[in-house]
Protein backbone atom coordinates (compact mmCIF):
# COMPACT_ATOMS: atom_id res chain seq x y z
CA UNK A 1 0.00 0.00 0.00
CA UNK A 2 1.17 3.49 -0.77
CA UNK A 3 2.70 4.90 2.42
CA UNK A 4 1.38 8.31 1.53
CA UNK A 5 -2.31 7.36 1.54
CA UNK A 6 -2.86 7.78 5.29
CA UNK A 7 -1.11 11.13 5.16
CA UNK A 8 -3.18 12.29 2.21
CA UNK A 9 -6.35 11.22 4.01
CA UNK A 10 -5.22 13.08 7.10
CA UNK A 11 -4.45 16.07 4.95
CA UNK A 12 -7.96 16.14 3.50
CA UNK A 13 -9.42 15.72 6.96
CA UNK A 14 -7.31 18.62 8.18
CA UNK A 15 -8.40 20.70 5.22
CA UNK A 16 -12.06 20.03 5.93
CA UNK A 17 -11.62 20.66 9.62
CA UNK A 18 -9.69 23.81 8.85
CA UNK A 19 -12.50 25.08 6.68
CA UNK A 20 -14.98 24.15 9.36
CA UNK A 21 -12.98 25.97 11.97
CA UNK A 22 -12.87 28.99 9.74
CA UNK A 23 -16.62 28.96 9.28
CA UNK A 24 -17.02 28.97 13.06
CA UNK A 25 -14.67 31.88 13.66
CA UNK A 26 -16.22 34.22 16.20
CA UNK A 27 -17.06 37.56 14.70
CA UNK A 28 -16.24 39.49 17.84
CA UNK A 29 -12.66 40.75 18.16
CA UNK A 30 -10.49 38.81 20.54
CA UNK A 31 -9.11 40.22 23.75
CA UNK A 32 -5.42 40.07 24.60
CA UNK A 33 -4.19 37.43 27.01
CA UNK A 34 -3.60 38.65 30.53
CA UNK A 35 -1.61 37.91 33.65
CA UNK A 36 1.29 35.50 33.48
CA UNK A 37 0.50 34.51 29.92
CA UNK A 38 0.72 38.11 28.79
CA UNK A 39 3.97 38.73 30.66
CA UNK A 40 5.53 35.69 29.02
CA UNK A 41 4.41 36.94 25.65
CA UNK A 42 5.72 40.43 26.32
CA UNK A 43 9.12 39.06 27.31
CA UNK A 44 9.51 37.56 23.85
CA UNK A 45 9.28 41.03 22.30
CA UNK A 46 11.20 43.09 24.85
CA UNK A 47 14.08 45.23 23.59
CA UNK A 48 17.54 44.12 24.69
CA UNK A 49 19.35 46.23 27.25
CA UNK A 50 22.79 45.42 25.89
CA UNK A 51 24.36 47.67 23.26
CA UNK A 52 24.40 46.55 19.63
CA UNK A 53 26.61 43.50 19.16
CA UNK A 54 29.70 43.73 16.99
CA UNK A 55 32.32 41.26 15.79
CA UNK A 56 35.46 41.03 17.94
CA UNK A 57 37.55 41.87 14.91
CA UNK A 58 35.76 45.17 14.38
CA UNK A 59 34.70 46.69 17.71
CA UNK A 60 32.85 49.99 17.44
CA UNK A 61 34.34 53.29 18.64
CA UNK A 62 32.81 56.76 18.36
CA UNK A 63 35.57 57.75 15.91
CA UNK A 64 34.98 54.72 13.70
CA UNK A 65 31.22 55.30 13.70
CA UNK A 66 31.77 58.97 12.82
CA UNK A 67 34.05 58.02 9.93
CA UNK A 68 31.50 55.47 8.75
CA UNK A 69 28.77 58.09 8.83
CA UNK A 70 30.90 60.48 6.78
CA UNK A 71 31.59 57.80 4.20
CA UNK A 72 27.93 56.83 4.16
CA UNK A 73 26.93 60.32 3.10
CA UNK A 74 29.83 60.86 0.66
CA UNK A 75 28.86 60.62 -3.04
CA UNK A 76 32.50 59.86 -3.87
CA UNK A 77 31.62 56.26 -3.11
CA UNK A 78 29.84 56.00 -6.47
CA UNK A 79 31.71 55.98 -9.77
CA UNK A 80 30.05 59.13 -11.10
CA UNK A 81 30.12 60.78 -7.66
CA UNK A 82 26.40 61.38 -7.90
CA UNK A 83 25.12 58.88 -5.37
CA UNK A 84 25.98 58.17 -1.75
CA UNK A 85 24.69 55.34 0.41
CA UNK A 86 22.31 57.89 1.91
CA UNK A 87 20.82 58.65 -1.50
CA UNK A 88 18.84 55.43 -1.14
CA UNK A 89 19.09 54.98 2.64
CA UNK A 90 17.78 58.40 3.54
CA UNK A 91 17.56 59.09 7.30
CA UNK A 92 14.55 61.29 6.64
CA UNK A 93 12.77 58.30 5.10
CA UNK A 94 13.61 55.84 7.85
CA UNK A 95 16.83 54.93 6.06
CA UNK A 96 15.05 53.92 2.88
CA UNK A 97 13.95 55.96 -0.14
CA UNK A 98 10.18 55.86 -0.16
CA UNK A 99 10.20 54.22 -3.60
CA UNK A 100 8.64 50.95 -4.60
CA UNK A 101 11.94 49.89 -6.17
CA UNK A 102 15.37 51.34 -5.71
CA UNK A 103 16.95 53.73 -8.17
CA UNK A 104 20.44 52.57 -9.10
CA UNK A 105 23.40 53.85 -11.10
CA UNK A 106 22.32 56.77 -13.26
CA UNK A 107 18.70 56.17 -12.41
CA UNK A 108 18.44 52.52 -13.39
CA UNK A 109 15.33 51.02 -11.82
CA UNK A 110 16.35 48.07 -9.68
CA UNK A 111 14.23 44.97 -9.11
CA UNK A 112 13.98 45.26 -5.34
CA UNK A 113 12.94 47.82 -2.77
CA UNK A 114 15.55 49.60 -0.66
CA UNK A 115 15.45 47.99 2.80
CA UNK A 116 15.74 50.07 5.95
CA UNK A 117 18.90 49.78 8.03
CA UNK A 118 17.75 49.99 11.62
CA UNK A 119 18.87 47.31 14.07
CA UNK A 120 21.14 45.68 11.49
CA UNK A 121 23.67 44.98 14.25
CA UNK A 122 21.53 42.07 15.37
CA UNK A 123 21.04 40.71 11.85
CA UNK A 124 22.20 37.26 10.83
CA UNK A 125 22.18 37.69 7.06
CA UNK A 126 22.06 40.78 4.89
CA UNK A 127 20.52 41.81 1.59
CA UNK A 128 17.04 40.59 0.69
CA UNK A 129 18.55 37.29 -0.40
CA UNK A 130 20.94 36.97 2.55
CA UNK A 131 24.02 36.70 0.37
CA UNK A 132 26.10 38.77 2.80
CA UNK A 133 26.92 37.09 6.10
CA UNK A 134 28.33 40.22 7.75
CA UNK A 135 27.73 43.94 7.54
CA UNK A 136 31.35 44.35 6.42
CA UNK A 137 30.68 42.05 3.47
CA UNK A 138 27.37 43.74 2.80
CA UNK A 139 28.88 47.23 2.72
CA UNK A 140 30.99 46.31 -0.29
CA UNK A 141 28.09 44.99 -2.37
CA UNK A 142 26.13 48.13 -3.28
CA UNK A 143 29.35 50.10 -3.77
CA UNK A 144 30.68 47.66 -6.36
CA UNK A 145 27.43 46.48 -7.97
CA UNK A 146 27.43 47.78 -11.58
CA UNK A 147 23.75 48.70 -11.37
CA UNK A 148 24.07 50.44 -8.00
CA UNK A 149 27.10 52.62 -7.25
CA UNK A 150 29.23 50.92 -9.88
CA UNK A 151 32.47 51.67 -8.07
CA UNK A 152 35.76 49.81 -7.93
CA UNK A 153 37.21 49.44 -4.45
CA UNK A 154 40.77 50.15 -5.60
CA UNK A 155 39.61 53.30 -7.35
CA UNK A 156 37.62 54.30 -4.29
CA UNK A 157 40.62 53.85 -2.02
CA UNK A 158 42.75 56.01 -4.29
CA UNK A 159 40.00 58.61 -4.47
CA UNK A 160 39.70 58.87 -0.69
CA UNK A 161 43.48 59.00 -0.19
CA UNK A 162 43.48 62.07 -2.41
CA UNK A 163 41.10 63.88 -0.05
CA UNK A 164 43.21 65.52 2.65
CA UNK A 165 40.35 65.67 5.12
CA UNK A 166 39.98 61.92 5.30
CA UNK A 167 43.46 61.12 6.68
CA UNK A 168 42.77 62.46 10.20
CA UNK A 169 39.39 60.72 10.28
CA UNK A 170 40.94 57.36 9.41
CA UNK A 171 43.78 57.92 11.87
CA UNK A 172 41.32 58.75 14.65
CA UNK A 173 39.29 55.66 13.84
CA UNK A 174 42.05 53.12 13.26
CA UNK A 175 45.30 54.68 14.44
CA UNK A 176 48.29 55.41 12.24
CA UNK A 177 49.00 53.40 9.14
CA UNK A 178 50.56 50.02 9.93
CA UNK A 179 54.11 49.37 8.75
CA UNK A 180 52.90 46.92 6.16
CA UNK A 181 49.75 48.74 5.11
CA UNK A 182 48.10 52.01 4.27
CA UNK A 183 46.13 54.42 6.39
CA UNK A 184 43.18 54.17 4.03
CA UNK A 185 42.38 50.80 2.59
CA UNK A 186 39.37 48.74 1.58
CA UNK A 187 39.08 46.86 4.86
CA UNK A 188 39.04 50.06 6.91
CA UNK A 189 36.46 51.67 4.62
CA UNK A 190 34.16 48.68 4.99
CA UNK A 191 34.78 48.33 8.74
CA UNK A 192 33.83 51.97 9.29
CA UNK A 193 30.69 51.69 7.18
CA UNK A 194 29.65 48.52 9.03
CA UNK A 195 30.29 50.17 12.41
CA UNK A 196 28.12 53.11 11.45
CA UNK A 197 25.30 50.81 10.36
CA UNK A 198 25.54 48.91 13.65
CA UNK A 199 24.98 52.16 15.49
CA UNK A 200 21.54 52.64 13.93
CA UNK A 201 19.01 51.42 16.45
CA UNK A 202 15.27 52.05 16.45
CA UNK A 203 14.06 54.64 18.87
CA UNK A 204 11.66 53.57 21.59
CA UNK A 205 8.20 53.02 20.10
CA UNK A 206 4.84 53.18 21.90
CA UNK A 207 4.81 49.39 21.83
CA UNK A 208 8.09 49.31 23.78
CA UNK A 209 6.61 51.56 26.43
CA UNK A 210 3.64 49.21 26.74
CA UNK A 211 5.93 46.20 26.98
CA UNK A 212 7.75 47.95 29.82
CA UNK A 213 4.57 48.52 31.75
CA UNK A 214 3.01 51.79 30.53
CA UNK A 215 -0.44 50.37 30.03
CA UNK A 216 -1.87 53.36 28.19
CA UNK A 217 1.04 53.69 25.77
CA UNK A 218 -0.96 51.85 23.12
CA UNK A 219 -4.70 51.69 22.64
CA UNK A 220 -7.05 48.73 22.90
CA UNK A 221 -6.97 48.22 19.12
CA UNK A 222 -3.19 47.78 19.13
CA UNK A 223 -3.36 45.48 22.14
CA UNK A 224 -5.92 43.30 20.39
CA UNK A 225 -3.79 43.45 17.27
CA UNK A 226 -0.79 42.22 19.23
CA UNK A 227 -2.83 39.31 20.57
CA UNK A 228 -3.79 38.39 17.02
CA UNK A 229 -0.25 38.89 15.77
CA UNK A 230 1.27 36.58 18.36
CA UNK A 231 -1.74 34.27 18.49
CA UNK A 232 -4.18 32.98 15.92
CA UNK A 233 -2.86 35.04 12.99
CA UNK A 234 0.60 33.47 13.53
CA UNK A 235 2.46 36.50 12.19
CA UNK A 236 5.06 35.96 14.90
CA UNK A 237 5.97 32.56 13.47
CA UNK A 238 8.35 34.58 11.28
CA UNK A 239 8.13 38.14 12.58
CA UNK A 240 9.54 37.13 15.94
CA UNK A 241 11.52 38.81 18.70
CA UNK A 242 11.94 42.48 19.45
CA UNK A 243 13.02 43.25 15.88
CA UNK A 244 10.02 41.34 14.53
CA UNK A 245 12.08 39.22 12.18
CA UNK A 246 13.52 35.72 12.29
CA UNK A 247 16.28 36.75 9.86
CA UNK A 248 15.12 33.86 7.75
CA UNK A 249 13.91 33.25 4.23
CA UNK A 250 10.39 32.50 3.07
CA UNK A 251 8.45 32.53 -0.16
CA UNK A 252 5.28 34.29 0.91
CA UNK A 253 3.55 33.88 -2.44
CA UNK A 254 3.86 37.34 -3.92
CA UNK A 255 3.03 37.60 -7.60
CA UNK A 256 6.12 37.24 -9.76
CA UNK A 257 6.99 40.30 -11.81
CA UNK A 258 5.61 39.66 -15.31
CA UNK A 259 7.99 42.25 -16.77
CA UNK A 260 11.13 40.63 -15.40
CA UNK A 261 13.27 38.73 -17.91
CA UNK A 262 13.60 35.97 -15.32
CA UNK A 263 11.71 35.50 -12.06
CA UNK A 264 13.62 36.71 -9.01
CA UNK A 265 14.69 33.56 -7.16
CA UNK A 266 15.83 35.49 -4.11
CA UNK A 267 17.55 33.17 -1.64
CA UNK A 268 16.94 30.35 -4.10
CA UNK A 269 19.75 31.66 -6.28
CA UNK A 270 22.24 30.90 -3.51
CA UNK A 271 21.24 27.39 -2.51
CA UNK A 272 21.36 24.08 -4.38
CA UNK A 273 18.61 23.87 -7.01
CA UNK A 274 16.95 20.95 -5.26
CA UNK A 275 16.10 23.20 -2.32
CA UNK A 276 12.73 24.08 -3.79
CA UNK A 277 11.42 25.84 -0.70
CA UNK A 278 13.93 28.65 -1.02
CA UNK A 279 12.88 29.71 -4.51
CA UNK A 280 11.39 33.20 -4.45
CA UNK A 281 12.24 33.31 -0.75
CA UNK A 282 13.38 36.61 0.73
CA UNK A 283 14.47 37.68 4.16
CA UNK A 284 11.75 38.43 6.66
CA UNK A 285 11.85 42.21 7.10
CA UNK A 286 11.60 43.88 10.46
CA UNK A 287 8.25 45.49 11.21
CA UNK A 288 9.60 48.35 13.24
CA UNK A 289 9.32 51.89 11.90
CA UNK A 290 7.15 51.02 8.92
CA UNK A 291 5.76 53.80 6.78
CA UNK A 292 2.00 53.17 7.07
CA UNK A 293 1.24 54.23 3.51
CA UNK A 294 4.63 53.34 2.06
CA UNK A 295 5.68 50.52 -0.24
CA UNK A 296 6.27 47.14 1.32
CA UNK A 297 7.64 43.67 0.53
CA UNK A 298 10.99 42.98 -1.15
CA UNK A 299 9.70 44.20 -4.50
CA UNK A 300 7.63 47.13 -3.28
CA UNK A 301 4.58 45.50 -4.81
CA UNK A 302 2.18 46.33 -1.99
CA UNK A 303 1.42 49.82 -0.81
CA UNK A 304 0.17 50.46 2.69
CA UNK A 305 0.12 48.18 5.71
CA UNK A 306 -3.52 47.30 5.07
CA UNK A 307 -2.62 45.84 1.65
CA UNK A 308 0.07 43.70 3.28
CA UNK A 309 -2.44 42.31 5.75
CA UNK A 310 -4.84 41.58 2.88
CA UNK A 311 -2.07 39.54 1.24
CA UNK A 312 -1.70 37.35 4.32
CA UNK A 313 -5.45 37.00 4.68
CA UNK A 314 -5.51 35.53 1.18
CA UNK A 315 -2.44 33.38 1.76
CA UNK A 316 -0.36 34.22 -1.32
CA UNK A 317 0.00 32.45 -4.64
CA UNK A 318 0.06 28.68 -4.36
CA UNK A 319 3.26 27.24 -5.75
CA UNK A 320 5.74 24.56 -4.87
CA UNK A 321 8.03 26.91 -2.99
CA UNK A 322 5.30 28.61 -0.93
CA UNK A 323 6.36 28.67 2.71
CA UNK A 324 4.69 26.14 5.00
CA UNK A 325 3.97 29.05 7.29
CA UNK A 326 1.80 30.66 4.61
CA UNK A 327 -1.83 29.74 4.88
CA UNK A 328 -4.90 31.92 4.57
CA UNK A 329 -5.69 33.83 7.74
CA UNK A 330 -9.37 34.73 7.91
CA UNK A 331 -9.72 38.07 9.62
CA UNK A 332 -12.73 40.28 10.13
CA UNK A 333 -12.51 43.95 9.22
CA UNK A 334 -12.08 44.92 12.87
CA UNK A 335 -9.27 42.41 13.28
CA UNK A 336 -7.45 43.82 10.26
CA UNK A 337 -7.81 47.29 11.71
CA UNK A 338 -6.47 46.01 15.03
CA UNK A 339 -3.41 44.56 13.31
CA UNK A 340 -2.77 47.86 11.52
CA UNK A 341 -3.03 49.70 14.86
CA UNK A 342 -0.56 47.27 16.40
CA UNK A 343 1.94 47.64 13.55
CA UNK A 344 1.69 51.40 13.75
CA UNK A 345 2.53 51.17 17.46
CA UNK A 346 5.93 49.72 16.45
CA UNK A 347 6.98 53.00 14.85
CA UNK A 348 8.97 55.43 16.96
CA UNK A 349 8.66 59.17 16.30
CA UNK A 350 11.04 60.14 13.52
CA UNK A 351 14.21 61.79 14.76
CA UNK A 352 15.63 64.47 12.43
CA UNK A 353 19.27 63.85 11.54
CA UNK A 354 21.54 66.31 9.81
CA UNK A 355 24.09 64.85 7.42
CA UNK A 356 27.72 65.13 8.58
CA UNK A 357 30.19 67.51 6.91
CA UNK A 358 31.94 65.83 3.99
CA UNK A 359 35.71 66.55 3.73
Amino acid sequence: MDRRLPMIALGFAALLLGLGARAEEPAAPIAPPQGEELEKLKAAFRRPEAPPPAPKRNPPTPEKIALGETLFFDPRLSRDQAQSCASCHDPDRRWSDGLARASGFQGERLPRRTPGLMNAAWGLAFQWDGRAETLEAQARMPITAPNEMNMDMTLLTERLRAVAGYAPLFEAAFGPAPEDGALIDETRILDALASFQRSLVSERAPFDAWIEGEEEAIGPEARRGFALFAGPARCSACHSGWRFTDDSFHDIGLKLDPEAAEPDLGRGAFVPPEVVGLRHAFKTPSLRDLAPEGFHMHDGSLRGIAAVIDHYVEGGEKRESLSFEMRPVPLAAQERADLVAFLESLAAPEAPRAPPPIP
Binding site: P6, L10, G11, A31, P33, R234, C238, F324, R327
Partner: protein, 166 residues
Protein backbone atom coordinates in the same frame (compact mmCIF):
# COMPACT_ATOMS: atom_id res chain seq x y z
CA UNK B 1 -15.38 35.29 28.25
CA UNK B 2 -13.26 37.30 25.91
CA UNK B 3 -10.11 35.74 27.31
CA UNK B 4 -11.45 32.25 26.92
CA UNK B 5 -12.36 33.20 23.36
CA UNK B 6 -8.73 34.02 22.72
CA UNK B 7 -7.51 30.69 23.98
CA UNK B 8 -10.24 28.85 22.09
CA UNK B 9 -9.00 30.41 18.90
CA UNK B 10 -5.43 29.55 19.74
CA UNK B 11 -6.53 25.98 20.33
CA UNK B 12 -8.40 25.90 17.04
CA UNK B 13 -5.31 27.21 15.28
CA UNK B 14 -3.10 24.67 17.04
CA UNK B 15 -5.49 21.84 16.23
CA UNK B 16 -5.63 22.87 12.60
CA UNK B 17 -1.83 23.09 12.54
CA UNK B 18 -1.41 19.61 14.02
CA UNK B 19 -4.03 18.08 11.76
CA UNK B 20 -2.66 19.78 8.70
CA UNK B 21 0.63 17.95 9.15
CA UNK B 22 -0.62 15.02 7.17
CA UNK B 23 -1.53 17.33 4.33
CA UNK B 24 1.78 19.12 4.62
CA UNK B 25 3.76 15.91 4.65
CA UNK B 26 1.90 14.52 1.68
CA UNK B 27 2.49 17.84 -0.08
CA UNK B 28 6.21 17.55 0.57
CA UNK B 29 6.33 14.09 -0.93
CA UNK B 30 3.87 14.93 -3.65
CA UNK B 31 6.15 17.77 -4.67
CA UNK B 32 8.64 15.19 -5.85
CA UNK B 33 11.20 15.64 -3.12
CA UNK B 34 13.28 12.57 -2.71
CA UNK B 35 13.03 11.23 0.83
CA UNK B 36 16.37 10.85 2.53
CA UNK B 37 17.65 7.41 3.34
CA UNK B 38 15.85 5.95 6.29
CA UNK B 39 13.53 8.93 6.58
CA UNK B 40 10.36 8.37 8.46
CA UNK B 41 7.58 10.72 7.66
CA UNK B 42 4.57 12.01 9.43
CA UNK B 43 2.83 8.69 9.90
CA UNK B 44 5.42 7.40 12.31
CA UNK B 45 6.53 10.67 13.79
CA UNK B 46 3.14 12.08 14.59
CA UNK B 47 1.71 9.14 16.41
CA UNK B 48 3.75 9.52 19.60
CA UNK B 49 3.34 13.31 19.49
CA UNK B 50 -0.41 13.00 19.36
CA UNK B 51 -0.22 10.75 22.38
CA UNK B 52 2.12 13.19 24.11
CA UNK B 53 4.88 10.62 24.08
CA UNK B 54 7.64 12.46 22.25
CA UNK B 55 10.84 12.19 24.27
CA UNK B 56 11.73 15.57 25.70
CA UNK B 57 15.46 15.31 25.47
CA UNK B 58 17.95 13.79 23.17
CA UNK B 59 19.39 11.88 26.09
CA UNK B 60 16.12 10.03 26.50
CA UNK B 61 15.82 9.58 22.81
CA UNK B 62 19.33 8.26 22.47
CA UNK B 63 18.73 5.78 25.24
CA UNK B 64 15.79 4.49 23.28
CA UNK B 65 17.66 4.28 20.05
CA UNK B 66 17.07 0.96 18.38
CA UNK B 67 20.71 0.14 17.85
CA UNK B 68 21.97 1.58 21.09
CA UNK B 69 22.36 -1.64 23.05
CA UNK B 70 25.51 -2.29 25.00
CA UNK B 71 26.34 -5.15 22.70
CA UNK B 72 26.01 -2.91 19.69
CA UNK B 73 28.05 -0.23 21.41
CA UNK B 74 30.80 -2.66 22.23
CA UNK B 75 30.82 -3.96 18.70
CA UNK B 76 31.13 -0.45 17.33
CA UNK B 77 27.79 -0.79 15.60
CA UNK B 78 26.10 2.37 14.32
CA UNK B 79 23.99 4.23 16.85
CA UNK B 80 21.11 6.68 16.60
CA UNK B 81 21.03 10.15 18.08
CA UNK B 82 17.89 12.24 18.22
CA UNK B 83 18.11 16.02 18.12
CA UNK B 84 15.18 18.23 18.92
CA UNK B 85 14.42 21.35 16.92
CA UNK B 86 12.03 23.63 18.71
CA UNK B 87 11.05 26.69 16.72
CA UNK B 88 14.47 28.04 15.64
CA UNK B 89 16.50 26.33 18.33
CA UNK B 90 18.36 23.16 17.49
CA UNK B 91 19.20 21.43 20.74
CA UNK B 92 22.88 21.88 21.51
CA UNK B 93 24.00 18.58 22.93
CA UNK B 94 27.41 17.08 23.24
CA UNK B 95 27.82 13.54 22.12
CA UNK B 96 30.46 11.57 20.34
CA UNK B 97 29.46 10.50 16.89
CA UNK B 98 31.23 8.43 14.32
CA UNK B 99 30.70 7.83 10.65
CA UNK B 100 27.82 5.45 10.11
CA UNK B 101 25.80 6.75 13.06
CA UNK B 102 22.27 7.91 12.43
CA UNK B 103 21.02 11.39 13.24
CA UNK B 104 17.32 11.92 13.74
CA UNK B 105 16.09 15.49 13.67
CA UNK B 106 12.72 15.86 15.36
CA UNK B 107 10.82 19.07 14.69
CA UNK B 108 8.72 19.74 17.78
CA UNK B 109 8.06 23.38 16.95
CA UNK B 110 5.32 24.93 14.88
CA UNK B 111 7.34 26.00 11.85
CA UNK B 112 8.94 24.09 9.00
CA UNK B 113 12.68 23.65 8.53
CA UNK B 114 15.04 22.60 5.78
CA UNK B 115 18.19 21.23 7.36
CA UNK B 116 21.40 20.44 5.57
CA UNK B 117 24.75 18.95 6.51
CA UNK B 118 28.06 20.19 5.19
CA UNK B 119 30.99 17.78 5.42
CA UNK B 120 34.60 18.80 5.63
CA UNK B 121 35.20 18.07 1.96
CA UNK B 122 32.42 20.48 1.03
CA UNK B 123 29.82 17.84 0.31
CA UNK B 124 26.35 19.14 1.14
CA UNK B 125 23.44 16.90 2.01
CA UNK B 126 20.03 18.53 2.06
CA UNK B 127 17.30 16.93 4.14
CA UNK B 128 14.49 18.82 2.38
CA UNK B 129 11.48 20.53 3.87
CA UNK B 130 10.57 19.29 7.33
CA UNK B 131 7.08 20.27 8.46
CA UNK B 132 6.29 20.62 12.17
CA UNK B 133 5.89 17.35 14.02
CA UNK B 134 8.00 15.28 11.66
CA UNK B 135 11.41 13.64 11.76
CA UNK B 136 14.24 13.56 9.28
CA UNK B 137 16.92 10.90 9.42
CA UNK B 138 20.33 10.73 7.91
CA UNK B 139 23.44 8.61 8.24
CA UNK B 140 26.73 10.38 8.93
CA UNK B 141 28.68 9.56 5.82
CA UNK B 142 32.19 10.65 6.69
CA UNK B 143 34.37 11.56 9.63
CA UNK B 144 35.57 15.09 10.39
CA UNK B 145 33.79 18.34 11.16
CA UNK B 146 30.14 18.32 10.09
CA UNK B 147 28.09 21.49 10.15
CA UNK B 148 24.32 21.24 10.47
CA UNK B 149 22.35 24.28 9.36
CA UNK B 150 18.90 25.21 8.07
CA UNK B 151 18.44 26.75 4.64
CA UNK B 152 15.43 28.70 5.88
CA UNK B 153 16.70 29.79 9.30
CA UNK B 154 20.39 30.76 9.36
CA UNK B 155 20.31 30.96 13.14
CA UNK B 156 20.15 27.18 13.36
CA UNK B 157 23.65 25.83 13.58
CA UNK B 158 25.29 22.78 15.11
CA UNK B 159 28.86 21.59 14.66
CA UNK B 160 29.73 17.95 15.12
CA UNK B 161 33.11 16.26 15.32
CA UNK B 162 32.54 12.91 13.73
CA UNK B 163 35.05 10.16 14.40
CA UNK B 164 35.95 7.50 11.87
CA UNK B 165 33.84 4.36 11.83
CA UNK B 166 35.22 1.58 14.04
Amino acid sequence: MALSGFFMRVEVAALAAVLSLGFAASRAQGAGEKPVAGEICATRAEAPEAAGALPESSAEASAEAPSGTEEAEAAGAPRSFTLIIHHTELEQVEFETRAGDELIFRNTGDIAHNLYLTYEDGTVETLHTQPPGTEKRTILKASGRVLVRCWIHPIIRLELDVAAAE
